[in-house]
């Protein structure tokens, strides 16, 4: 029973995260490319409840530009108070690339800024970039995983069902794809493709590459299941009344593979999200200005950043519960489908 709750919690959490990502424009106070040139590497904005005069406010507020970490060096200046406003109108954005809106969940009045996670070298809000990056990275992972599983499942099913030369061919190809370590293979394939690809095409390219190299393991698993199921007597019986191959596949054979396909999908999604992050981190994934968690983290390769600007690490920490939830789900699915007798 506790198990079910754990799984339910994980699913709910992931749905929340995906919801945040989908409506990133709403939850993020700024656009991912919006720069505040005079505030490079600003630390996270401090939220106050008590102002200089000792009054407590219900709604937290931030101070104007003067609220910087080295403000102690300056003589105390009267600072203007900017309360956080909710449901503000700000920079326009698009939901799912289709619907336009310009209402943001929260924001502060100009010229104050609210940088919950601080800013990077170009003064871009890390919190907003984190949310927009979630869009890219999560979507890349899910799409690529879907592609791999669909391709691998189809090839595996055809190979297992028809046998003969098709099976030989597919099996040899899976061996080829499984021979190299996946990251090496990924880089190798990426090397074969144009290096500097503009914006959104680089996203499509990445999803395509990830999806196309990961088909081998799902294919093998599906093939194994199809091989064993096609000899079962209920399939023979259906052949006996003249069922066509298509009917046999759809009605009898493929339903046995759904468990494996779902499990493989749940395993591949986090793996591919990480792969996208890693590739972008190396500089061969999605290119600027499309934000991805990888580009958020790649700045950490610089010594100065690592030592002086601790807040750049925050996105990395937030990744942990997300992957934890993914792994809970894939663990649960693996256990569930293993225990069902074939």
């Amino acid at each position: 029973m506790r198990y079910r709750n754990k799984l339910g919690a994980a699913v709910l959490f992931l749905m929340l995260i995906h919801g945040l990502a989908l409506f990133a424009g709403f939850f993020a106070p700024y656009n991912f490319a919006e720069q505040t040139r005079d505030r490079p590497f600003a630390p996270p904005t401090r939220l106050h409840f008590v102002d200089d005069q000792g009054r407590t406010h219900l709604v937290p507020f931030v101070y104007d530009a003067a609220d910087m970490s080295d403000s102690s060096l300056h003589a105390p200046v009267t600072r203007s108070l900017r309360p956080i406003q909710f449901l503000v109108r700000g920079t326009p954005y698009k939901i799912a690339g289709v619907f336009s809106a310009n209402v943001h969940l929260f924001g502060v009045q100009e010229p104050a800024r609210i940088f919950l996670f601080g800013t990077d070298a170009l003064g871009r809000d890390q919190f907003s970039r984190f949310l927009y990056g979630a869009q890219i990275s999560l979507m890349a992972g899910s799409l690529a995983a879907g592609l791999s599983v669909a391709l691998g499942g189809a090839l595996g099913a055809v190979a297992g069902f028809y046998g003969g030369h098709i099976d030989e061919c597919v099996t040899r190809m899976t061996e080829l794809f499984l021979a190299a370590p996946w990251l090496y293979l990924l880089l190798g394939v990426r090397a074969a493709l144009p290096l500097h690809v503009p914006e959104w095409q680089s996203f499509v390219l990445l999803v395509g590459v990830l999806g196309l190299i990961g088909w081998a393991r799902p294919a093998r698993l599906v093939r194994g299941i199809v091989l064993s199921v096609k000899e079962r007597q209920f399939v023979l019986a259906a052949r006996g009344f003249g069922a066509s191959d298509a009917h046999l596949l759809c009605r009898h054979v493929l339903p046995e593979t759904y468990g494996v396909i779902l499990t493989q999908f749940s395993i591949l999604v986090p793996q591919y999200v990480l792969a996208e992050v890693t590739l972008t981190f190396f500089g061969v994934g999605v290119g600027e200005p499309v934000p991805s968690w990888g580009s958020l983290l790649s700045v950490l390769q610089q010594y100065s950043v690592l030592v002086s600007y601790w807040w750049m690490f925050i996105p990395a920490i937030f990744l942990v519960p997300i992957f934890f939830a993914y792994f809970q789900i894939s663990d649960a699915l693996q256990e569930h489908f293993q225990s069902v007798p074939l």
Binding site: R232, Q233, R239, G240, F241, G242, R251, H252
Partner: protein, 280 residues
């Protein structure tokens, strides 16, 4: 139940049937050829019950499957009502399949565990596009009653039914297309004695109700003596002897048949008839 008036109409004729299997060894390139059937000649009259007996590996199941058109022979001919089946095109073959159906030994594996009983019976009807959806539902309900299952079984899945009920369901499915020939590949072997008796009863009723022709694959000679009109003895893929049942059991011609008969536990047949008499 064994003396259905034998019309001399020949339903199925098998000539020179052979079946070879090629097994590839897993690790070496060599392959082994297994000769499952050699030179089978057989004639099955309409309305009769034929028993195929022999030891395991004699080729009984292979022959049964060839007759049911779910295995393709390597050589030879199968004629169904005078027409050669193997020479037929896809569509014709599709139509001929309606005339021959098979019931397997293990009802658990021959029924898709994810389908309900109604879906299982309707499947052949769906494939052959017989009748409208409503008509198919009607037919499946009728079949369920005919095989002795309660009508509300339709929404149950195989695992919710007992072994005997599952076999009844398999029989119902086989009857859905109104076949003329029903092949029962050791269909009674997995059942306990009580179930076996009631299914035998059912089969006899169905045979007279629908003028069915049966081919039973059996290894139990006692059972063969009870339900068959003719017995075919097989050994190593060949037919050793083919006789009407009385003649086989009283005056077997072949020494192998004699061995089989000698090994038969005669107590069982005595006990079953005694029990039937005492139950009256």
């Amino acid at each position: 139940m064994n003396d259905v008036c034998s019309s001399s109409v020949e339903l199925v004729s098998v000539r020179g049937l052979s079946k070879r299997y090629i097994q590839r060894q897993a690790l070496s390139r060599a392959s082994i050829t297994i000769q499952a059937l050699t030179g089978i000649n057989l004639s099955i009259q309409r309305g009769r019950t034929l028993a195929l007996i022999g030891r395991s590996g004699a080729g009984k199941s292979t022959l049964a499957r060839c007759l049911a058109l779910i295995e393709t022979p390597s050589e030879g001919e199968i004629l169904f009502e005078g027409k050669s089946v193997l020479a037929l095109g896809r569509d014709e073959l599709f139509r001929v399949r309606r005339n021959v159906q098979i019931v397997f030994q293990d009802p658990t594996s021959s029924l898709n565990p994810r389908m309900t009983a109604a879906e299982i019976i309707c499947e052949p009807l769906n494939i052959h596009r017989i009748g409208s959806t409503a008509e198919r539902q009607e037919k499946s309900k009728k079949l369920l009653t005919q095989v002795g299952l309660p009508a509300d079984c339709g929404c149950k899945k195989p695992f919710e039914l007992s072994g005997g009920q599952r076999q009844r369901l398999a029989i119902a499915r086989a009857l859905a297309l109104e076949p003329r020939l029903l092949i029962l590949d050791e269909a009674l072997s997995n059942l306990d004695l009580m179930n076996r008796e009631s299914i035998l009863h059912l089969l006899a009723e169905l045979q007279s109700a629908f003028s069915l022709t049966y081919v039973h694959v059996l290894h139990d000679l006692g059972l063969a003596s009870r339900l068959a009109d003719e017995v075919v003895v097989m050994q190593d893929g060949r037919i050793i002897e083919h006789q009407p049942v009385d003649r086989l059991f009283n005056r077997p011609e072949n020494s192998y048949t004699r061995e089989l008969l000698a090994a038969m536990p005669s107590l069982e047949s005595i006990c079953s008839t005694r029990f039937a008499r005492e139950c009256r």
